[in-house]
Symmetry: C2
Subunit: 315 residues, 2 copies
C-alpha cells in the first residue's frame, strides 16, 4: 500500500499502524510456524478495487494447526451512504488498517483462537474521527482451567500497563460480543474486546489520546504470542479420542454460526464486497452439524457449555 | 395444534392448511424412507412458547441420505413491532403454517434438495391479509442435465395446471433468491420460488383467490416426491471417488453460507427465537472450508460453477 500513499494522502498514523501490523504479522506467523513444527504459511498479496489491499497468510494441514489465517490489510475509499451513517465522523471517506487472525488446531485439546487489532479513520477536515479497536478471544473444546487463566491473565496484565485500557470493561465487552443468542451460549471463553478507543463519544468518559492508544495496541498485539503459544505447547502432544474429535467438530459448527450470523466484521465484509477468501479464512474445517446435539451430562462437554452459558472471571 | 384452535380462533383455512401439511409430511417421509432403504425418520414434537408448535422429523446416516429434516409447524401470536412492519396486513397478530424440508444425500452424485410451502395470516379485521409462499430448489454437486431437466419440468408442469401459478416468474424468482453475492454464484440450479400468492399487493396484477392458490399448493407439495425421488433412484447406486466427495463437502460450505447469511427464513427464525434445531436442521454434515478453493478447469467442478454463475433455462 506504501506506493499509493502519496496520491491518497494516507495519514502518518495510518501508515505507521499498517507498517506495525505487517511487522507483527511476521512475528506471529513465525511463532506459529515454530509451534507447529512442519506447517508453513503461504502468502497471498491482494489489492482492493476501491483502494488499498492486503497480505493474507494461511496455513493448511500443519502438524498442530489444521487451518489458520493471519491477514493484514490497509484499505481506503468511500463507504456506502448507509454504512457511513453507522460510523462516527462526518462524510463517507475512510481508511482502515488492521491485523486479523483465526487459528484452528486439529487436536480438540488445543483451543481455537482469534485476535484482531485495527485502526480506523473516517470523515474529512473538522468532522474527521479516528480510533482503534480489537481484542482476542479463546475457544476451547475441552476446557482446561490453567489455559483459561493464562490467557485471561496475559490480557489483564497488558491492560494494567496502559491507562488507555480498562480490562474489566474489555473483558465484559468480549463476553457480550461473542454471545450467540439462538444458542444461549458464547462462542468461547472470552478474552478482551474493545472499540472506538481514542474517540470522544460524548459520554463524558476521559478519552485517551491516540498515541497512548497505539502504544497499548502495539503492546497487546505483541501479547498474542505469549497469550496463546504456551497453551499450544502444553496441549499439542496430548492424544485424543474419536469422541473428543467428534465433539470438537460439532462445536466448530457454533463457531461458524456466530461468524456468519452475528460477527459484525464478517457480515459487513461479505455484504460490502470485501475480499471473501480473507474474510472467510476464519471458518474451520472440517465442521459437523447434527440435529439437536446435546452435551453429555457429567462430562467435559457439559463443563464447557456451562462456562459458555455463564462466563467466569478467570483472574 | 388442533386442541388450541378454539381458544385462539385459528381460521378454517389455517387449520385446513396445517392438516394438509401434516398429511403431506407423512407422504414425503414415507417416500424418502423407501428411497433410502434403511434410514428412518425420528419424530420430535415441540411446542412454541408464544403459541403453536411443530412436528420435526429428521433422518441421520441412512443408506442414501446422510442428514435430512422435514418440519411441519403451525405457529401464531404477536410479531415484534419491527417485523410486523415488514409484512403486509395491519397489526401484529399472525398465524403461519408450513412444511419445510432439506435433504442431504451422502453421495455427491445425488443432489441436495429443499422445499417449503407455507400459509400466512397477518393482522385482524378489515386490515387482515393472507397469502401462500413456497418453492423448491435443487443443489447438485455433480451436474447431470437429465436430472436438472426432470426437476425443472416437474415444477413447470404443475404450474401449467394452475392459473394461480406463473412458472417463468417463479423460476426467475428462485434464481434471484438463492444468489450468494459474496460468491457470485447461486446456491444451486434453482426450481421455483414464490411469495405473497393470493394477496393483492396493489400492483394491478390479477390476484388469484386463496382457494385456487391452495389447490396449487396442494398439487405442488405432492409434486415434491415425483420431482426428486426419481433422481435419487437414478443416482444412488453410482460409486464416487474421494475427490468427488471432497468437492461435495467444499460446496456444502456454500450452502451453509447462503443459509446463515442470506436466507430470510433462517436469519429471521434465529433472530426471533424460533426453534433453533428445527431451523438449523437445514445445515449439512460434514462440511469443509478450504482457503481460496477453485474449481478445476475442464472438470465437472467447473461445469457446475458455470451454471451457478449463469442460470440456464432447462425446459
Amino acid at each position: 500500500v506504501s506506493n499509493s500513499s502519496e496520491e491518497t494522502a494516507i495519514s502518518e498514523r495510518g501508515q505507521k499502524t499498517h507498517d506495525f501490523f505487517l511487522q507483527v504479522q511476521d512475528e506471529i506467523t513465525a511463532a506459529l510456524e515454530r509451534a507447529d513444527g512442519t506447517g508453513r504459511f503461504v502468502t497471498d498479496a491482494w489489492s482492493r478495487e476501491g483502494g488499498g489491499g492486503g497480505r493474507t497468510r494461511t496455513l493448511t494441514d500443519g502438524a498442530v494447526f489444521e487451518k489458520g489465517g493471519v491477514n493484514v490489510s490497509a484499505v481506503f475509499g468511500d463507504l456506502s451512504e448507509g454504512f457511513a451513517k453507522e460510523l462516527p465522523g462526518s462524510g463517507r471517506r475512510f481508511y482502515a488498517s488492521g491485523i486479523s487472525l483465526v487459528i484452528h488446531p486439529r487436536s480438540p485439546h488445543v483451543p481455537t483462537v482469534h485476535a484482531n487489532f485495527r485502526y480506523l479513520e473516517k470523515g474529512e477536515g473538522e468532522g474527521a474521527s479516528a480510533w482503534f479497536g480489537g481484542g482476542s478471544d479463546l475457544t476451547p473444546w475441552i476446557l482446561y482451567d490453567e489455559d483459561a487463566i493464562h490467557f485471561h491473565r496475559t490480557w489483564k496484565d497488558v491492560c494494567a500497563r496502559h491507562a488507555a485500557a480498562d480490562h474489566a470493561h474489555f473483558k465484559k465487552w468480549c463476553d457480550d460480543y461473542f454471545f450467540i443468542p439462538h444458542r444461549g451460549e458464547r462462542r468461547g471463553i472470552g478474552g478482551i474486546f474493545f472499540d472506538y478507543l481514542g474517540l470522544d463519544r460524548g459520554d463524558e468518559k476521559p478519552v485517551p489520546n491516540l498515541d497512548d492508544v497505539f502504544r497499548f495496541i502495539e503492546d497487546a498485539a505483541r501479547c498474542f504470542v505469549p497469550a496463546y503459544v504456551p497453551i499450544v505447547e502444553r496441549r499439542k502432544h496430548q492424544t485424543y479420542t474419536d469422541e473428543e474429535r467428534a465433539w470438537q467438530l460439532i462445536r466448530r459448527g457454533r463457531y461458524v454460526e456466530f461468524n456468519l450470523v452475528y460477527d459484525r466484521g464478517t457480515v459487513f465484509g461479505l455484504k460490502t464486497k470485501g475480499r471473501t477468501e480473507s474474510i472467510l479464512m476464519s471458518l474451520p474445517s472440517p465442521v459437523h452439524w447434527a440435529y439437536d446435539h446435546r452435551p453429555r451430562p457429567g462430562t467435559y462437554e457439559e463443563a464447557l457449555v456451562s462456562v459458555l452459558r455463564t462466563p467466569r472471571d478467570w483472574v
